[in-house]
């Protein structure tokens, strides 16, 4: 047993500890009050301090062709600093601006209830005439101040809105966790798409300046003892987007048409254009969106805020036949020139149900190539029955469907690849498996893909099986131009043999270029486009129109997926849009050398 501490020692020890602690406090106090007294005395004389935040401008967003698509502009806010005696100046400011003082009072008391000491922004982004009027009377408005703020501007308004996203005011419930990252109560942050994804890059860090104020709250200048902390502007994002192509692609959609288009460079994974229609104007959010505008956006039955290119998944229709065909070839169920047991007579009877081919007249007996070119459903029904749902699901996943592409955007739909256990969960045992497999083989039913997934898949086929992760960021640079983050280029391989890929590429090229192929509308003069149409049945209305392609067929420099909602046949609506996108892009590239041309132009 170790020695216990005796009573006398304990008493002395406890007293010594208390004495030492109090002495340390006294020494520290003396240090402040005697040795540093003059420094603190000066600070105190000047210390009728008001901290003015210096807003850091948000970083630029540049496209590959060096177009600025988002920038920051200065705005002027009327801010209330005083915590007491604010009623008179606020009502005077309201009358100067001809604004409702009751609403302003409500705003002040509302914020003060939760955050009693944070400054209150009374009016955001004052227009010049009102700004002049306020500045003239600022001396009679103690406790009020004009503060500069950095406001976001999307230079092309709604064009590319789903690519860019928008910035919005911090929600009160977010503020609690964000304040530790240096956000102020009134700060804006990126919401949605790139503005959100790269918030940490785009956002600078705010500085602040300390001003001396007199007893009435009027500023008298900055004290000498304290240097201002300069704001650090946000960094620049350089995107893979080809803005000329983006503009052209957006213009290909008619007003009121809903849909999406994605263009990718297959050899790098760079996204060249990302379109979702209808779109919205991010500038509406720049100073906090008005309630009426928000209600209009939120209640629009066409969901203009929804990014159809990456967040919406649709049945792929016949564009899925590349997966069915690849699976059948890899599983050695068919050979490229073998024919199916039953010729196409316009329909196929499975059990007691009749499955129709899109062409009522029938295609006769076809090999795989012919079945792809003419998009013969009866051929693929039989393939689906032979493959089974399970094997089609496995090959779909191997080819990247049912999983996020991990594009650098905050929200992405993984799509859906149903397998037999999924069907069992959903419909219970004893569902009619044969029909499900036949339907799945032609991309109908519960299978869902996003336009981005499809563009990535077709790009990978065109790129001989090498699939690059789609991405938007090429580099991030500080405002001085130092690159601190580089493009993330990673790839994997589609698990397909070269023979299978070659067969698919041949067939896809003939879909577009062979007379009678379903993709004729996507033809581009002088270039072999390889692609596939899709018409996705949709229980809620007219069919969705799909087209997915890559070009030139042998060594593609672009892969495109186009979806138009409720527009009917893929061959009629989506194919010409995709063709135009390819034509525009190859035309834009012509004068320059391929590869790094766009970057060299800096």
């Amino acid at each position: 047993m170790a020695q216990e501490i005796g009573s006398r020692e304990r008493t002395l020890a406890l007293m010594a500890i208390c004495g030492a602690a109090l002495s340390l406090l006294l020494v520290r106090s003396a240090q402040l009050q005697v040795f540093d007294s003059s420094k603190y005395g000066m600070l105190s004389r000047q210390n009728r301090l008001r901290r003015i935040d210096l807003a850091a401008p948000r970083g630029l967003v540049l496209t590959a062709d060096s177009v600025i698509i988002a920038e920051s502009r200065p705005g002027f806010n009327l801010v209330l600093f005083a915590t007491a005696d604010w009623a008179a100046p606020v009502s005077r400011a309201a009358s100067l601006l001809a604004l409702d003082s009751a609403a302003m009072f409500a705003a002040v008391t509302g914020q003060r209830r939760q955050f009693p000491r944070d400054p209150v922004v009374l009016v955001r982004d004052l227009p010049p005439p009102l700004l002049a009027r306020i500045e003239e009377h600022l001396d009679d408005l103690p406790g009020l101040r004009i503060e500069t703020a950095s406001l976001r501007r999307a230079c092309f308004g709604p064009v590319g809105s789903h690519l860019l996203g928008f910035t919005g005011r911090i929600a009160v419930n977010q503020y609690d966790s964000l304040r530790d990252y240096g956000y102020g109560l009134d700060d804006f942050l990126g919401k949605g798409s790139l503005e959100q994804q790269y918030e940490n890059i785009l956002r600078g860090s705010d500085g602040y300046e300390l001003y001396e104020v007199d007893a009435r709250g009027r500023e008298r200048g900055a004290p000498q003892a304290l240097e201002p902390v300069e704001p650090v502007p946000g960094s620049t994002l350089r995107l893979s987007i080809d803005w000329g192509l983006q503009l052209a692609a957006e213009s290909l959609f008619a007003v009121g048409q809903k849909g999406a288009a994605v263009a990718i460079e297959p050899s790098t994974g760079r996204i060249l254009a990302l379109v979702s229609r209808p779109n919205f104007d991010p500038n509406q959010f720049a100073t906090g969106i008005r309630a009426a505008d928000w209600n209009r956006l939120a209640n629009d039955p066409d969901f203009p805020m929804w990014d159809r290119a990456v967040r919406s998944a649709y049945p792929p229709g016949s564009t899925f036949k590349v997966v069915t065909a690849a699976a059948a070839l890899e599983e050695s169920l068919i050979t490229a020139d073998g024919r199916m047991p039953r010729a196409c007579g316009g329909s196929l009877r499975i059990g007691n149900r009749v499955f129709k081919c899109w062409d009522k007249g029938g295609h006769g007996s076809l090999d795989l190539h012919g079945a792809m070119v003419h998009s013969c459903d009866v051929y693929f029904y039989q393939l689906g029955l032979a493959l089974t749902v399970e094997r089609m699901a496995r090959w779909s996943r191997r080819m990247g469907l049912g999983d996020r592409t991990r594009v650098d955007l905050p929200i992405e739909s993984p799509g859906l690849v149903p397998d037999s256990s999924w069907y069992r969960r959903r419909t219970g045992p004893g569902s009619w498996r044969g029909g499900v497999a036949a339907n799945m083989a032609i991309g109908q039913g519960e299978l869902m893909v996003t336009p981005l997934q499809l563009a990535s898949l077709y790009g990978a086929i065109g790129n001989d099986g090498q699939r690059w992760k789609p991405h938007l960021l090429v580099s991030a640079e500080t405002a001085e131009g130092a690159v601190f983050r580089k493009e993330l280029k990673i790839y994997d391989r589609l698990p397909l043999s070269p023979a299978t890929i070659a067969a698919l590429k041949r067939a896809l090229a003939d879909v577009v270029n062979q007379p009678g192929g379903t993709g004729g509308a996507a033809r581009v003069a002088g270039v072999a486009v390889a692609g596939k149409t899709g018409t996705a049945q949709n229980p809620h209305g007219e069919d969705h129109s799909w087209f997915a392609c890559f070009a030139p067929a042998d060594r593609p420099s672009i892969a495109v997926a186009v979806l138009v909602e409720n527009a009917g046949h893929g061959s009629a609506v989506a194919a010409p849009i995709a063709g135009s996108i390819v034509r525009t892009y190859l035309g834009r590239r012509q004068p320059r050398s391929p590869g790094q041309a766009t970057l060299a132009a800096e």
Partner: protein, 409 residues
């Protein structure tokens, strides 16, 4: 006997302690009066309410002094369980400023954590004395640790980090005062040291060296040293894992807690303002009611947690010295009572109370001087606030009562 008691009352009443407490409370009312002389209607008249709290507190003190300490021992368990119950209850009440610390009684907001501190002191004093010589490690140390950890955890999730720190200090004080060998105290603390030391290689090597030094100094046998060593390393290696399990903003909060300077918008600003106020007071101060810093109300809690800043600004280093001497005298008298008290429970309880008061003084003043983390701990007897003033005066009363009966067994 009855006659002897009335005589004994006057002789055994610790006048020094009583005087210190009364003077500190008076200083508190004056300081609150001064600190609230600003243009904030919400603060007007608070000094009168503080006067009321002190009056109620003095009643509580008289009551605490009048009740024999045997009552406290007899009711230690029920009091402790009631305090735990209130700590649980408060978590389900609506939050004030995003914390669950107060029970609103209409005219008065009570903090169950104040009661929990007192109840824990009584219970630890009671059980740790009973189990002092227990052979089982669990009874000697394990149960006191668990009894301390329970209210501490509940206070921690309110969240009230500052107050929760009082609980381990109480445990340490009671263990120390009951005569726990230094060796045991060291090995109770070493896992905590290990958790901190593990964050950098040099500090970890120093820790291991200290651990081996302790093995040699306390002549720990190898068979005991090896598991102790492994246990320390194991507990230490848990902490980086715990740390990375925290969300980034939670980590940042802890870092700001330890070093307010990295948060110029929040607590760093308050500490800077407090240092400016105290430093600008100089030797003699700016004079009572003459503080310029406080008039601008830069401190959000200049009549509560940051009241020492106002005192330092207006009364200068001499005022600070006087205040610290009063606290020193109070602690000195308290320790004397604990030493002279013959009943072991009463002696331990007095020690626990004195330690809590001293700990709060150091934490609060250290915070205003920028050498301690920013916590919501008030300055005992001085800061504005009914719950704190009444509890503190009641605690002082209990120590006085123990002093009155210091010769009873």
């Amino acid at each position: 006997m009855t006659g002897g008691r009335s005589l004994g009352f006057s002789r055994d009443l610790d006048g020094g302690l009583l005087a210190a407490v009364v003077l500190l409370s008076a200083a508190g009312v004056l300081s609150v009066y001064s600190a609230t002389q600003v243009d904030q209607p919400a603060l007007a008249g608070l000094w009168q309410r503080q006067l009321l709290w002190v009056a109620l507190g003095l009643l509580a003190m008289a009551l605490g002094a009048a009740l024999p300490f045997r009552y406290w021992e007899a009711f230690a368990w029920p009091l402790y369980l009631a305090a735990l119950g209130l700590l649980v209850l408060v978590l389900f009440l609506p939050a004030h400023q995003r914390t669950h610390r107060w029970i609103d009684l209409g005219f008065f907001q009570a903090q169950p954590s104040e009661l929990a501190k007192l109840a824990t002191i009584f219970l630890l004093a009671s059980v740790s004395d009973k189990w002092r010589k227990a052979r089982s490690f669990v009874l000697r140390y394990g149960l006191p640790i668990v009894l301390t950890a329970a209210p501490m955890a509940l206070v921690l999730i309110e969240p009230d980090l500052g107050t929760s720190l009082s609980f381990p200090v109480i445990l340490l004080a009671v263990l120390f005062w009951r005569g726990t060998p230094l060796r045991d105290i060291f090995f109770l603390l070493s896992p905590l040291l290990s958790m901190v030391a593990v964050f950098s290689m040099p500090s970890f090597l120093v820790f291991v060296a200290v651990l081996f030094g302790a093995f040699l100094l306390f002549r720990v046998r190898f068979a005991a040293a090896l598991p102790l060593f492994l246990l320390n390393i194991a507990i230490g290696s848990l902490s980086p894992w715990l740390w990375h399990g925290l969300k980034e903003y939670q980590q940042k909060r802890i870092l700001i807690f330890l070093n307010p300077g990295i948060d110029p918008r929040g607590s760093g600003w308050h500490v800077l303002q407090s240092k400016i106020a105290i430093g600008s007071g100089g030797l003699a101060g700016k004079g009572f009611l003459q503080g310029t810093q406080k008039k601008l109300s830069f401190l959000p809690a200049q009549h509560t947690d940051f009241i020492f800043s106002t005192i330092g600004e207006e009364l200068g280093l001499w005022g600070v010295l006087l205040l610290l001497l009063l606290y020193g005298w109070l602690l000195y008298r308290g320790i004397q009572i604990a030493r002279q008290t013959r009943n072991r429970f009463a002696s331990l309880a007095a020690t626990g109370i004195v330690t809590v008061i001293g700990f709060n003084v150091v934490l609060n003043i250290g915070m205003t001087l920028g050498v301690m983390p920013v916590t919501g701990i008030p300055l005992p007897f001085v800061s504005y606030g009914g719950s704190a003033v009444i509890t503190m005066l009641a605690m002082a009363g209990i120590v006085l009562g123990i002093g009155l009966r210091r010769y009873e067994y």
